[in-house]
């Protein structure tokens, strides 16, 4: 018996040594890096994961950094950015964060310019609510619904399951600055007379509510924003509103402006990594690019790393714009190798 145990132990030890060697062979040749690591914020939504993947690829291949993504909610990653534990925020939805302008003015972090700006947010309904969907056998329930104000006539369509005599509007996530505006809009248009404004609690729950309604072919109206995978996957229509006006907007009376989504870094990182900061300052995409990348992920089932490679191969000219000739070549070699 003892002999057997000894033999098994020996065999196991041998296998472990073997796998250690094999593992060593597997590891990517990362000895050449300077040893610096850039920490990116991953706030969970898909677009930031894509932009992280692109920036990480370039940080590794062109600059020789190590990279890491740290996952957390907006307030947590934001606090970590201020304290310098997170270095880079690829998507700062500054206009949506009440505390951001003050912190920026106080010099607690550095903004490096636009990532993308042509986005949209507001109240969305599935297209089949307005136009119907012959394929799925859905009749148009609210054919004349075009604007936010029209919602007044359709409270019965969007009935609140917890209070069926009133309609339900899925609001923005409480704590986002847009939530304050949406609540004002809800009162300003008199929707509070026949609708409940329901706080979804988290963006995951809001997405689940839209997805569930869409699968069932049920009407739903609520706040959402794009570019997001949800808007890529499901056909939702943004309800029209009065044209944007900065003064009236905060009273909830106009459509939302597109938000300047910027790239931010911590003060410490800004001071110590001027070259990478210069690259991030040049980095700019668009909502269209982001949506295309998210669709690529959704359609192919590939990871964001692959989407980043695909994107840079498709938009080769960007490399010359963003990087020195030498760095661009290093990235190209990595993409093709």
């Amino acid at each position: 018996m003892k002999k057997t145990i000894g033999l098994v132990a020996l065999l196991l030890a041998f296998l472990m040594v073997l796998s250690a060697c094999a593992g060593g062979g597997n590891r990517q040749g990362s000895d050449s890096v300077k040893g610096d690591k850039i920490v990116f914020a991953d706030i969970g939504w898909d677009s930031i994961k894509f932009h992280n993947a692109v920036a990480m690829l370039i940080a590794e291949e062109a600059f020789g950094y190590e990279t890491e993504e740290v996952m957390g909610s907006t307030p947590i990653t934001y606090t970590a950015l201020l304290s310098g534990e997170i270095d880079v925020f690829m998507e700062m939805w500054g206009d949506n964060l009440e505390y951001y302008p003050d912190d920026l003015a106080a010099g607690k972090l550095k903004e490096l310019g636009l990532n993308f700006g042509d986005n949209a947010q507001g109240l969305y309904v599935p297209r089949y609510v307005i136009e119907g969907d012959a394929e799925r056998g859905i009749e148009p329930i609210a054919p004349d619904l075009k604007t936010v104000e029209d919602l007044k006539d359709y409270a019965h369509v969007f009935a609140d399951p917890e209070e069926p005599s009133r309609g339900r509007i899925y609001g923005a996530i409480s704590g986002w600055a847009i939530d304050t505006v949406m609540r004002k809009k809800y009162v300003a248009y008199g929707l509070d007379e026949m609708y409940n404004y329901v706080d979804p609690g988290s963006d995951a729950a809001l997405a689940a509510a839209f997805a569930s309604a869409y699968q069932r072919g049920e009407p739903i109206v609520g706040y959402y924003w794009e570019p997001t995978w949800l808007l890529g996957k499901y056909d939702l229509v943004l309800l029209e509103d009065r044209p944007y006006d900065p003064e009236l907007f905060n009273e909830g009376l106009t459509a939302c402006p597109s938000i300047d989504v910027t790239i931010c870094v911590s003060n410490n990182f800004y001071d110590k990594n001027p070259e990478f900061v210069a690259f991030l300052e040049k980095y700019e995409s668009s909502s269209a690019i982001t949506s295309a990348a998210l669709s690529y992920v959704q359609d192919t089932g590939e990871g964001f790393d692959e989407a980043a490679k695909w994107f840079l191969r498709e938009n080769d000219a960007l490399l010359d714009e963003w990087l020195t000739a030498e760095q661009a070549q290093a990235v190209r070699d990595a993409l093709n190798g």
Partner: protein, 292 residues
């Protein structure tokens, strides 16, 4: 060097995520009446509980806490302390939030008892049932709660109803476990005595085993209430209102004070409910000793 020794072989890969997605989508589309029924039922339950809780004026509730503490624990000073703590919830401006949170907890705990207690009794009488239920309970207790929060939203929508379901799932295991445990550990001689006097199986269960197991069952109930209270806060991430909602708003806006204020009220509520329910089952245990 063979790769499969160092790292898990790529060839052995099963994707269970897609079938689960499809399954949830399938029941979401096809079992609608079923979930609508659950929704209506739970909403009725919650509204009923809330109506009662809301009907009790603030001073009466504080008086009830005061009187119960005194009666159950025989400690007047502690009774004053708990009354002051309850008062503090009102002073912090969170009384109505507390009422809603309490209602959701009560509704979820009622569901847990209605479902959990019979299962616990059943499991205590059958080893087969026990072997079947135990791994399920283990799964329910260790599965990260966010995993089933989102399907709860898919199937039941956003708001207080899915919160009750999620809270019930999270908080039911102690009721089942402790009911089972309590009944199984009733003194064999007591059970034999009952049987030798001609009790039927049902009579033995209802008149001897369950009363004898009551302290253990109540201890389970106490755990269930505590777990429900903690889960109700998490459920604010799927739109449950009340104290947890305040916590979430506080976090989202980086208003640390606001989060803490609401958090403090959850703590007060938890401590008082915990001590009171403990008081109840300890008194019962004590009485049993007196009779025995």
């Amino acid at each position: 060097m063979p790769n499969w020794i160092a790292s898990f072989p790529d060839t052995i890969k099963i994707n269970i995520a897609t079938p689960i997605d499809n399954f949830v989508e399938y029941i979401n589309v096809n079992w609608r009446p079923f979930f609508d029924g659950i929704k209506t039922g739970l909403l009725g339950l919650l509204n009923g509980v809330y109506a009662v809780v809301e009907f009790i004026p603030w001073w009466l509730l504080i008086a009830i806490v005061f009187a119960l503490t005194w009666l159950l624990m025989k400690k007047p000073l502690r009774a004053v302390l708990y009354a002051v703590l309850m008062l503090l919830i009102g002073i912090l401006g969170l009384w109505s939030y507390m009422q809603l949170t309490l209602s959701i907890v009560i509704a979820a705990v009622l569901m847990a008892i209605i479902i959990g207690f019979p299962i616990g009794v059943l499991v205590s009488t059958s080893n087969h049932a026990n072997a079947l239920v135990r791994p399920i309970l283990d799964t329910m207790q260790t599965m990260p709660s966010f995993v089933y929060l989102i399907p709860a939203v898919m199937l039941l929508g956003i708001g207080n109803v899915p919160a009750i379901i999620a809270t019930t799932i999270y908080a039911i295991p102690p009721v089942i476990r402790m009911t089972n445990h309590g009944i199984r550990h009733v003194d064999k001689e007591v059970v034999e005595a009952a049987q030798s006097f001609g009790s039927t199986r049902w009579q033995t269960l209802v008149k001897v085993q369950i009363p004898q197991a009551m302290p253990t069952i109540m201890a389970g109930l106490n755990q269930t209430i505590m777990m429900a209270l903690s889960m109700v806060v998490t459920c604010s991430l799927i739109g449950a209102r009340g104290l947890g909602h305040e916590v979430v708003i506080g976090i989202n806006r980086l208003e640390i004070g606001r989060g803490f204020t609401a958090g403090l009220c959850v703590v007060i509520l938890a401590v008082i409910i915990d001590r009171l329910t403990q008081g109840i089952y300890k008194t019962e245990a004590g009485d049993d000793h007196g009779k025995g």
